[in-house]
Symmetry: C2
C-alpha cells in the first residue's frame, strides 16, 4: 500500500508540472509535440528528413531524450535545428520535471519559438505514462518492428493523436501486414491521424507536415 501511495504522489507531482508546462507553452503560442516509439524506429530521422521544411515554417526547438550520449542532438543540429539534449541516465522515459529543468538550464525564451519537438527515450511502453505538457502525442512505428505492435503495446497508442508508420520503403523486402497494422491502430486509437512515411526517401512526409501545420493553426485559433 505504501508503494502505491508514494507512486500516486509522484505521478500527481509530474502531472502538476506537466500542466504548468502546458500553460507556458500556450502562453507562448508554442505547439509542443511528444514523439514516442521503439529504439531505432526513426524518431531522429523524422526530424532530419523534415528539417528544412520545419525551419522554413517554424522557429523550432528540439528536446532530445536519451539515456546516454548526445548523438541525437548532434544529428538534429547538423541539419540546422536548435536542439537540447536530456540524458536520463537510468530512466526509461522523459518526465515533466526533466523537461522543465532542461528549458530552465538552457535559458531559452519560449516566446522565441513556434514549435517544440520533444523526442522521447526509445521505448514503446514507459513514456506513455508521463505527460510532458505536450499538445499532441505522436507514436512512431516502423515496418521492421512487425505489424502486431499496436495490439501488443496498446497503452502507448491509447492517447495518440497521430500514428506514423515509418520505413515503408522496406515493405517490399519485409513480410508486414499493413492492413492488419492499421486495423489494430484503429481499434486502440480510433481518432488518431494516420500516415505512412519513409524517412529514407521522404515519401509521405508532406502529409505529416500538413497535419502538423493544422495542429499549430488550431492552437493559434484557440
Amino acid at each position: 500500500m505504501k508503494q502505491i501511495e508514494v507512486q500516486q504522489k509522484v505521478l500527481k507531482r509530474h502531472q502538476d508540472i506537466a500542466q504548468h508546462l502546458r500553460g507556458r507553452f500556450d502562453k507562448a503560442s508554442l505547439l509542443a509535440i511528444n514523439i514516442m516509439g521503439s529504439p531505432g524506429c526513426g524518431k531522429t530521422a523524422l526530424l532530419e528528413v523534415t528539417a528544412k521544411e520545419l525551419a522554413n515554417r517554424y522557429r523550432t526547438l528540439v528536446l532530445e531524450g536519451d539515456l546516454q550520449t548526445d548523438n541525437d542532438a548532434k544529428r538534429v543540429r547538423a541539419v540546422g535545428l536548435k536542439a537540447l539534449q536530456i540524458n536520463t541516465n537510468q530512466a526509461c522515459h522523459l518526465d515533466a520535471l526533466m523537461v522543465e529543468r532542461a528549458l530552465a538550464d538552457s535559458k531559452v525564451n519560449l516566446d522565441d519559438f513556434d514549435l517544440l519537438v520533444i523526442e522521447n527515450v526509445g521505448n514503446l511502453v514507459c513514456p506513455a505514462g508521463f505527460p510532458l505538457g505536450e499538445h499532441c502525442r505522436i507514436v512512431l512505428c516502423s515496418v521492421p518492428e512487425g505489424f502486431d505492435k499496436p495490439a501488443k503495446y496498446p497503452r502507448m497508442f491509447y492517447k495518440a493523436d497521430c500514428v506514423l508508420l515509418n520505413k515503408i520503403d522496406l515493405l517490399d523486402v519485409l513480410d508486414f501486414d499493413k492492413d492488419a497494422f492499421w486495423q489494430f491502430v484503429k481499434q486502440v486509437a480510433p481518432k488518431a491521424a494516420r500516415f505512412e512515411i519513409s524517412c529514407k526517401t521522404g515519401q509521405g512526409t508532406d502529409a505529416w507536415l500538413d497535419w502538423l501545420n493544422q495542429q499549430r493553426t488550431n492552437l493559434l485559433g484557440k
Copy 2:
C-alpha cells in the same frame, strides 16, 4: 527519500525471489536464459527458427512476456515448443515474482525440462534492472534499429552474457555500420559472446546454438 526507501525494498524483494528461482533452476539442472531486446527485434523469431534444434537437444519450456495478447506464445507453440504466456498489462518488464507465479500456476515440474527460455517484454531499458534467476542474459539487437544502440542504451548491455545481432539479411539494404556496432558492444560488455544471425534465413544460428549448448554443459559440470 520515502520513494527511494520503498523502491529499494521492492528491488530487494525481487532479488530475493530471483535468487530463490535460481536455486530451483540449479536443482533441476535447468539452464535458464533471459532474452531481452526492443519490440520487433526478433526474440520470438529466434525461437521459431531454432525450434527444431532446440526440441531435438533439450526438453524446452518457454515463458513469453508481453503487455497484452498471447500472440507470441501461440507462435512458439505452433513450432512445437511448450510455452506459457505472462501478460504484464501495464508493466514494462518481467519480474521474478511474475515468473514464479507463472511457473506455479502452470503446475509444470522443472525436473521435466532442460532449458527455460524467458522472452522478456520488448524494451531496451527496463528489463535490465530485474533479475529473473536466469543463468544467462541475452541481448538481441537488429540491424534496422541502428548501430549506435549499445552506446545509447548501455545499461541493457552491461551484464549481457551474449549479444546477438539479428536481421543481418538486411545489411545490404540498410545503412548499418557493423564494425562500429560491435565496437560499442565490446566497450560496454567486453566479455559477452557475440553472434550475427538472421532469423529469416537461419544464417548464423548454428553458432548461437553451439554457444547455448556450451552454457548447458557448463551448468551440468558445476
